[in-house]
């Protein structure tokens, strides 16, 4: 605890003064008590640092762009279609894929917490979990998107997905113009995490999206 226990409030909480030391102390305690195996921690760290992340989602998007049958499966049942790539597991149990088109723009938020499709996007960035993004995206999506650099014309329909329950959401971005001759692998390099959250579009390569 960072403060001496002179706190009379029953709502006493720990605000770690030096979080890295606190977490280290907690880890060694839990290991000493036999509750946690440090090797299991290493596996988990490796998994979430190196093995899940937006590159997974980008492969899914690129496949959907080149393979209409796959795209249909993805929109019908995101969970099953992503499992074809081997992407499943925690926070991916029920994936709903929503498609951005020339007339509809989708954006994902979790107002209550931080729900996010881990297997295909990894862990959410800090700004996705910020109070400002969580609170404002439902009431003023156009303002939020504009602040993030995406101005949407009035005639585009904006759909906000508040992932509060069993389903996690994933945006299938619109394929940019000028990419007809690109291979699936090259297309995947264009797709950004932010486009799969719906706070950005996938830039066309001529616009400097790829070298």
């Amino acid at each position: 605890m960072s403060q001496p226990s002179s706190d009379h409030s029953q709502d006493h909480t720990d605000v770690p003064s030096d979080p890295s030391l606190r977490v280290k102390a907690l880890e060694s305690l839990l290991v000493e008590k036999g509750l946690v195996d440090p090797d299991a921690l290493d596996v988990l760290v490796d998994t979430y640092e190196n093995r899940v992340g937006p590159r997974n989602g980008a492969q899914v998007v690129a496949r959907a762009w080149v393979d209409p049958a796959y795209k249909q499966r993805l929109l019908d049942d995101g969970t099953e279609a992503m499992a074809e790539f081997g992407y499943s597991g925690g926070q991916g149990e029920k994936l709903t894929v929503v498609e951005n088109t020339s007339s509809v723009h989708n954006v994902i938020v979790c107002t209550l917490c931080s729900c996010y499709p881990w297997p295909v996007l990894g862990l959410p960035p800090t700004w996705y979990k910020s109070a400002a993004f969580r609170s404002r995206t439902v009431i003023d999506p156009r303002g939020v998107l504009s602040e993030l650099g995406l101005d949407l014309p009035k005639d585009i329909e904006v759909r906000v997905w508040d992932s509060n329950a069993a389903s996690r959401y994933f945006v299938l971005p619109k394929r940019p113009d000028g990419t007809d001759s690109m291979s699936e692998a090259d297309l995947a390099t264009l797709v950004t995490r932010d486009a799969m959250i719906g706070v950005a579009k996938v830039a066309s390569p001529s616009a400097g999206g790829v070298s």
Partner: protein
Amino acid sequence: MNGIHDMGGMQGLGEIGYKETAPGFDEPWEIRLFALVQAMRTGGLRPYIEGIPAADYLRMGYYERWYTALVKQIIESGTVTRAEVDSGRADPASTKATLALTPEVARDLLFRSTKTEQDVELTPRFHIGESVRGRNINPATHTRMPRYTRGKAGVVERDRGVFNLPDNEEASAEPKPQHVYLIRYAGRELWGEEVPPNDSVYIDMWEDYIEPA
């Protein structure tokens, strides 16, 4: 609970702090803590996170909340004592616990999906296309019904299937499986006439959260 965490629709909560290249973790201890929470398999931390007093909640970073919630939960469950957390050392008199997660299972977690949908046949109370309204309920405990949906009318878009109501999970009550519906709320219904007419908010709602409109 009408807590600070239920912030959908609030304004004035500062900057988004958007960074295009932001990683999932800002500091090495955050991913270590994330892994600790996964390895402990303690179940839902959210009620503990939501129990953090509002001023502290807003001051804390995301993973500081996790730390606070995890410590509170494992002290409450009797897994560790406050003295042990403070010292970082196990009480010599305490018994060795059973490992919650082996490295083998941890490796497997990435590829294994735990199905959260329940295989229970229940007659749905609502149907696609039906108008429903968010009920006026104010539970003081964990709920997945954001307050901005209360009293608001929307339309059932999809029947998600049957899932356990998370509201009573933590109270260790009997599981309450029920249908979850995807509801479309017109932006104008939620936020007024200034919203462009076709903009909308989609949200999944358990049966207990809604009533016929």
